[in-house]
Symmetry: C2
Subunit: 205 residues, 2 copies
C-alpha cells in the first residue's frame, strides 16, 4: 500500500512539525522572537533539538515565516482589492475603507505582529518577505495614481506616483506597527479618516 495515511513515518513527522509550530507560536508571543530559542521550542514541543532542524532547515526564521504565512495572505487580500478611480469622492471612500481594513487586521493579529516587527529587524529573510509585500502594495497604489493622472483628476501632472503612494502606505504601515506595539491610543477610524483625507485632498483637484 502506498497511501499517505499508511505511512507512519510521514505521519509522525507531520505530527512533530505541527507540535513545533504550535509550541513556537505560543512561545513567540510570550517571549518575543529573540528570546524564543530553538532549545526552548524543542523542549516545549517535546522533541529533540535536532528534530527542529530536520523540519525547518532554516531554523527560527523558517518557523516564524511558516506561522506568518497565513496572516500575510490576509494582508495580500487587502492589498489586492481592486479599485478603479472615477472621482475624488469615490477615491476617498475606497482609501478610507482600505486603510481601515488594513489596520483592523493589525488589531486582530496584534500579538504576532509585534513579534513580526521584532523579527524584521533581526532576520534578513523575514525582512525581505515584508519588503516584497510593501513593494507590491505601493505599486498598486501608484498604478491608481497614474490612472487618476491620465483621467485628469489630479492637481498636477508632474507628481511622482511612487512617492505619493509611499506617503499613504508608509504612514499606514507605521500606524500598523504602532497598533502592534500598542504605542498609540488613536482609533483605527481616526487614523483611516485622517490619512485618507490628506491623501485625497493632496492628490486630487
Amino acid at each position: 500500500m502506498n497511501h499517505q495515511q499508511m505511512d507512519k513515518r510521514k505521519l509522525r513527522g507531520e505530527n512533530s512539525k505541527q507540535k513545533i509550530i504550535q509550541s513556537a507560536k505560543l512561545l513567540f508571543v510570550e517571549h518575543g522572537f529573540k528570546d524564543t530559542t530553538i532549545s526552548l521550542i524543542s523542549k516545549t514541543a517535546e522533541t529533540a533539538y535536532g528534530t527542529v532542524y530536520t523540519h525547518f532547515p532554516g531554523g527560527k526564521d523558517e518557523i516564524f515565516l511558516n506561522i506568518m504565512d497565513e496572516i500575510l495572505d490576509r494582508f495580500y487580500l487587502i492589498a489586492d482589492m481592486n479599485f478603479v478611480v472615477t472621482s475624488k469622492e469615490e477615491s476617498l471612500t475606497f482609501t478610507r475603507n482600505n486603510i481601515k481594513s488594513f489596520l483592523d487586521l493589525a488589531l486582530e493579529h496584534q500579538q504576532i505582529l509585534k513579534v513580526f516587527h521584532e523579527a524584521i529587524g533581526l532576520s534578513h529573510i523575514i525582512n525581505q518577505k515584508w519588503s516584497t509585500f510593501v513593494n507590491n502594495y505601493i505599486s498598486k497604489i501608484a498604478e491608481n495614481i497614474e490612472l487618476a493622472k491620465v483621467r485628469g483628476l489630479t492637481r498636477e501632472e508632474a507628481i511622482d506616483s511612487e512617492i505619493i503612494a509611499g506617503m499613504l502606505f508608509f504612514t499606514g504601515e507605521k500606524y500598523m506597527w504602532k497598533i502592534a506595539l500598542r504605542s498609540t491610543n488613536k482609533e483605527v477610524e481616526t487614523i483611516s479618516e485622517n490619512l485618507a483625507k490628506m491623501y485625497v485632498n493632496g492628490l486630487y483637484k
Copy 2:
C-alpha cells in the same frame, strides 16, 4: 601636580578609547553592525578584549551610540529649525527646504546611516535613541499644524495634527533610510518637492 595633562593613565585611557572608536567606525562601515564583533574591534584597535568593556560597559551598542552622537546632533539642528506659519506658500517653501536638508544630511552620512538602520533593528537602546528623535520631530510639526489650525489656514478643524505630522515625517524618514540603503534612485529634490506639495495641498486651504 593634579593637572589632567600630567596624568599619564588618563591619557593612555583616553587614547585607547579613541583608538576603539576610530577602529569601530571603520569596521562598522565595512562589515555592518552585527558582523563587527568586539573581538574584531579590540584587535583593530590594538588593545585587549576586556579594555573595550572598561571604556564602553554597554558594549557594541554604547560604542555605536558614541559614534552616532555627533551625527544625531546635526539631525536635531534640522528638527529644531524654527518656523511660524503665516501662509500656505511660506509653508510650502519651508517644508520643502526642511525635507531637503534632512535628506541631504542622509546623503552625506549614507554609510553610517546604513549601519544605524541595521542597529536599530538589533539593539533596543539604539532603537530608543532614534524613537526619541522621531517623537521630538513629530511634535514640532504637530505644533505647527495646531497653529495653522488656529489661524484658520487649514482645510478642516477636525484633523488630528499628530497623524498629519506623521504622514510628512514618516515618509521623509522612509526615504532617508532608502537613501542610506541605496534602495532608491530618486533625487532629493524630487522627493522633497513631492512630499512638501502633497503635505501642503492636503493640509491648507
